[in-house]
Symmetry: D3
Subunit: 152 residues, 6 copies
């Protein structure tokens, strides 16, 4: 069975994340959406809310799971016996960042493979931080969120 | 009448901002320099100081106005009946950021057009954050500020 | 009157070019689509064909003209008494190229201003070279061409 | 069965290509290395030589096949009933180019998915064009070629 | 005597920094590793610890010194009568940042020259922030640190 | 003695090249401007003309020499017993290209060090290809050429 981890903050999950996971299901039998926790970071939504948003988004989709984890992402992948990480690429600066992380991960866990999909053009500008910014400024973020979300 | 909004923090206004607005006046009849407020951001200069610096810079220039606003920049443009946003491009990472923002804005307000001018070479390294850094370290920031400024 | 030159090879004109000119008409009273000739370059379509494609695309649009020119683009702008050049930005490498050209042009003609619009996301991958590649390989390039084109 | 196409010129195959295909075999059951032909391009090695080099490189590896094709890569993928294309990413300009191609391909064949792996650091500078350049200048290109190659 | 300043936070020094300084010793007679202090920044290691780590790394190397400084880096270079700054380049975003800084420095101190070495491929992903992130998550950062370090 | 090679086509030498060599003389005792020959490339100026232009530019400067060479640049450096290559960086795409070349060179000649200076802002848009383009189109390229040149 091919299992992949899709790590991130998902604060909140966006249409961009949703499309990547759906495309990833063509490649992998199971995708675990894994919410990392960073003690230094302030989140707009609690861990419980972020998990609930993801569950709503992928309700009825048995191949998608959601979990939270602590510690290094590579250690978490090993604990879950996942040989793959799934990542989206949106822009050139994304690429440089992902290249460095992938290189470090390769040094730490040589058997863990990171697989990249390029975000489709019409979704490439969407990010959780832009969504948070719109919400904070009382704008309507719904065009950028999964239509399955019920609560934001 | 062609009215454009030139949004930013202007903490403080630099020679780079000044040159862009002057070049923009060839394109637009009126440019409103619009100071957005972000509750999470700490500024070096108060809103009043930042407005005063801009007024000094463009004294005697009837086509340039200065205002502050809250909420989304696109909503502000609509309230001001401005069909254009003016933005400067300095570097590749600037470009990627601006491309994402312009794409999101297009989704939210299809009739708002963002117009870009590329910063001239000798001004392309100047930014408000570099100016603040020089001032904090007791350096002389005057080569990077409008010569009209009286107080910094 | 605000007149802008939109220079290029247009071998052939694409949906991306078309959208840029239409957006540019909000800024300028007249846009001259100017086909530069480069003796060292091989074109897929003759100059006459390229002009005809552009005329078909903007038929009934009085603000858009098409011309060909020889020599430096900046000299051509001066001869046409155009104070503006219109350019589209699609990607980071585009940006670096355009920045260099804009800087050189500024040195040669200080009063000529280059105005940039960022290509919309769904059109940002389209270029004349990709269209030519599809046509050479017997693919269907029509999704990337102006719907007004009758002959390609 | 998950079948992927790995398209390119392979003039000649490098250590970089070799590593990508080996990593791709973790994801795909079969990888077809597909040599596209471009009438306008001059190659250093004939199609027969390039095929032979690839066969030497993957001798004894049943999951890897080599073929040549004409026409659009997306049409070829469809003919081979391959739902995936495999591509390597080395640098930021690579990324911009691949993003445009992936977007065009998505428009033409919505069910074809392009999967990217980032080249490992120590192989990221290797390209067929650098190898050709070394060989033309009588340098030793063997550190950059698969050790299985017998003839170059 | 050719003296160069290698400025940074070194929180902590990495294998990447170590290699750059060693390569720089081919160019310069003396390299001062200069730890700048930024009142707004939180460090993982104290100034004393960071100095000690650097001293351990370059023990027995007379051409390398370590100091801390306050104020602008350019002013510090002048006080030390150093005509050169040494900087490493790892990625494109690095480059854009360094280009802006070098341009500002040139305006402020025309006689100060910044010399760049490109980080070797296998070290290019290593940064102090990645090292700190690994340590915070209880991972093993030792592959990315100078082997001379005794205490982290 | 510190000897550096500054390799290129110099078709023709520009103000940008001139400034880099002058800055490089602060670092190196001798700089050899080395004109590589590429049988596949068409040049605007003959090798003799290109040498003469460089000699005119650096007349009376004993630390600068000009030579031509064939074969790999790294082999040439070894023959000249030069431990350094000098290169200018103008833009991000430049950086990506130089990074790959420097990495390949390091693999082939571990003791050869490539040293980079970033082109100053007002010269960063100048390249030999832009100069050739201006000359071919009967423009005035003199603002971009060394003032010492007598013949172009």
């Amino acid at each position: 069975m091919k299992r992949a981890i899709f790590p991130g903050s998902f604060d909140p999950i966006t249409k961009g994340h949703q499309a990547l996971v759906q495309r990833g299901l063509e490649l992998f039998d199971e995708i675990i959406i894994a919410i990392g926790s960073n003690a230094n970071k302030k989140y707009m939504y609690t861990l419980e809310e972020r998990i609930k948003f993801i569950e709503q988004t992928f309700e009825g989709e048995p191949g998608v799971k959601v979990e939270s984890y602590e510690g290094l992402t590579t250690d978490y992948c090993e604990r879950k016996e996942a040989k793959f990480m799934l990542r989206g690429l949106r822009t050139s600066p994304d690429f440089e960042f992902e290249r460095a992380i992938a290189q470090i991960n390769k040094e730490m866990k040589p058997n863990l493979e990171t697989v990249f999909l390029i975000t489709s053009a019409e979704l490439s500008a969407i990010s959780s931080s832009i969504v948070r910014d719109i919400i904070k400024n009382n704008g309507d973020a719904s065009p950028f969120l999964p239509s399955e979300l019920k609560l934001i």
